[in-house]
Symmetry: C2
Subunit: 125 residues, 2 copies
């Protein structure tokens, strides 16, 4: 039964319903809806309007969590950082992460499920 099927690793593919996504990022579903209202994440929707988060969405949310919880940035700050990321290329957050976790033992935000090797956040959107 262990089929050799492996093709669906597309981190863009919407798969997680909100309750699952919330669990993955250790947040309340309410919080994820707020992130969306604030324009920080844009999960796909099923034809019947149900949110589906992709792996990229999860990573993006993990960045938000890192910035807000570990660095104390508020959502307005996160928005600006994402804006910058889109405007100036993409390496911004990485540089940030180095700065923030110097010798702290933290690990970069990573999508819990499916440990896709690189673990680098990407500006999906």
């Amino acid at each position: 039964m262990s089929a050799a099927r492996r093709p669906d690793r597309d981190p863009t593919r919407p798969v997680y319903v909100i309750s699952v996504a919330a669990t993955l990022v250790s947040a309340h579903p309410r919080t994820l809806r707020i992130y969306e209202d604030e324009g920080l994440v844009s999960p796909a929707r099923t034809p019947t309007n149900i949110r589906l988060y992709s792996e990229e969405d999860i990573r993006r949310i993990l960045w938000i969590r890192h910035l807000t919880r570990d660095r104390g940035v508020n959502l307005a700050g996160v928005r600006i950082l994402f804006e910058l990321e889109e405007r100036l290329g993409q390496r911004i957050l990485e540089a940030l992460y180095d700065e923030g976790t110097r010798g702290r033992g933290d690990e970069p935000p990573e999508a819990g499920a499916s440990g896709s090797g690189d673990g680098r956040p990407s500006p999906g959107r």
Copy 2:
């Protein structure tokens, strides 16, 4: 040579005492001390320990004011943006400013030496 009053326009030169600086940026002196405690500004000191803000300091504070008041960013976010600015060159805040004041004709506060002298850049307000 008429010694025509060549006031050192060196934007680095510490000149403003805290009450003046506070007036220039429309903030309470208390607030400026907080900015300093947070490591966001580092005004020079006289030999007798009195703060003296330079033109650059003022511009930097105006950036903080712009980011916090107009963009809603908190001090942690400002700190990160300044960190990034130091790490990735200096175009960051400019790009940001464009985003914030689309088509307004204002000039962004600049930390560069080539400040147009008098120009106290009031970011939007």
